[in-house]
Subunit: 372 residues, 2 copies
Amino acid sequence: MKKQVVNPYSVEGSIDYDKLITEFGVKKITPEVLKEIQGFTGELHPYLKRGIFFAYRDLKKVLDDFKKGKKFFLYTGRAPSGPIHLGHISVWLFMKWLQEKFDVEVWFQFPDEEKFLFKQDTKWEDIQKWTHENILDVIALGFNPKKTHFLIDTKHAGIMYPEAIKVAKKITFSSIKAAFGFTDSNNIGSIFYTAMQTVPIFLPNILNKKNENCLIPLGIDQDVHFRLSRDIVEKLGHKKPAIIHAKFMPPLTGTEGKMSSSNPDTAILLTDSPKEVARKINKYAFSGGQPTIEEHRKKGGNVEVDVACQWLKYFEDDDKKLAEIYEKYSKGELLSGEVKKILIDKINEILTEHQKRRKNAEKLINQFVWKS
Amino acid sequence: MKKQVVNPYSVEGSIDYDKLITEFGVKKITPEVLKEIQGFTGELHPYLKRGIFFAYRDLKKVLDDFKKGKKFFLYTGRAPSGPIHLGHISVWLFMKWLQEKFDVEVWFQFPDEEKFLFKQDTKWEDIQKWTHENILDVIALGFNPKKTHFLIDTKHAGIMYPEAIKVAKKITFSSIKAAFGFTDSNNIGSIFYTAMQTVPIFLPNILNKKNENCLIPLGIDQDVHFRLSRDIVEKLGHKKPAIIHAKFMPPLTGTEGKMSSSNPDTAILLTDSPKEVARKINKYAFSGGQPTIEEHRKKGGNVEVDVACQWLKYFEDDDKKLAEIYEKYSKGELLSGEVKKILIDKINEILTEHQKRRKNAEKLINQFVWKS
């Protein structure tokens, strides 16, 4: 088994999430926390019930404040350098649900310099193309255009850079080295970058002359940016952001590491055709089944390592249906190929709808991109 | 004697300019180069004749190109954090002369983040105030508003940051450490900064869709920024900038180090009153004279260490008059107080005129600040 590595620039190994909770100093989402959320939302999002969002920082404070009438805004982001895959959208779908349930603003950052700075062979023009493509996908997820604002780092540098330098002044290279494992061979843009990722924590309050809390839903690999900057933004007179952390959706090929667009066998892209979806899942989805049908019928499959079963946690919202699939697969009543078929149909249903909305997204870009 | 230190963040000791030429790998301005310049300008600026501008990189190439009809633009800058003193303006007065003689554009950068990032106790609001004040002084020097463009880093970050990251990607922290003597305790904004200072080398050509040469007149302490980035801009498909280097105008208090606004005894500010100018020069200007009048009349003064004599190189344009003063002072015919009086009158004549124009500068800001 590979050593566990979890930071914005590398996710490797079989992830022990309890260990991460201790290492990162975050809190586990307990049944009490879920109950508190449910008090506002009426129902719980499947990702909460299923432990996909599993940890937090300061979330209870945000909920307490909300009860007292103090709003929050949501902030997350996407560093463009390739197509969007299914692993990306879980955080965003959950954020969309939060937006609807709490009726709050969403700030979505597209740090179009990040991958350019961190991947040696990326071309600026390609990143710009992917920024545009990624924007279309995020719009197609169905965020409320009146309450959702896109910040694109190089487009909005005029409002972001003046704030980023205030953050940057308070971070030494020593801290960066310790937090991200950088060396003297890192380029100076990559060293500066975390300051830009910090800005949307407080920029919306400056732009809107408000004083709302900031809640960041993110994959836990991104936590380090804010571990570093939470104290700093407070020193600058802003609120510490709250964070709610997601686990990684496993790659098609198995439950270690993280899905990646640069390895197309491990991921399904939002633009994949139904045929492509079926091909990838049938060919690559790691199976928790037994070597022969006979053995499978007898011993049953392992839902914990079966990627089709694991992925259904993300896409089959109906708890009863999901439990039934898991039970039948465990008992050997469902074969791996049959679970794969269920997943393929589910994903294709979602993607067909998504791709339809995506065709209309171009016209909506202007409504989403922040105008300063 | 203090050890010689010359970089953008520290100038100390008695400066050996010939040693700098070797250390920095720049070329000395020879009589041949002067002749070549004179071929275009008709006459030579006093700062050229007097060796105040003393070294260069690629200047001959720019002149060769100019002869063939290829224009250049001028780029220099000012990092605001306090008032402008007489030591600052020598480079700018010379640049203004170049602008007039060659009929070229001037790009003037106000990197309003630099001092904020490098001086721990600077406040953002103060820097913004000084940016405004410094702009007034630069305008009052009389640059052609139709051909002079101000870039203010945080105001123009929208056009500068996207280019700065392309530069930054090509500079490792190792290079920065070697070039500027930084350590891991440097903040990440200061580490990134040189990328922003590099951008005006090529941004004007992007904005104006031109392909002109870039010539940078600067104090030699700033050379390291461009030593580092000349090769990089070339890799990005832009031209290497040419540079013409100035010596430091000595502080009032003696010929070591560099004048500084933060030590008001060493500098005369552009906003000083005639009375203040007289007081500072009489009180602080280091004298090359003898201990008693009798001895001075007999042995004469030393023009090389007498700050009043040295400063007159900057402000008395008439070669004959200057030579006469030097001769008389060397022979003891002029006393230190008398040379100081000549200098005081000269500076007050210049400052009275400057302060008059400065009152009108506010109205002109809009004409100078680049509109993108």
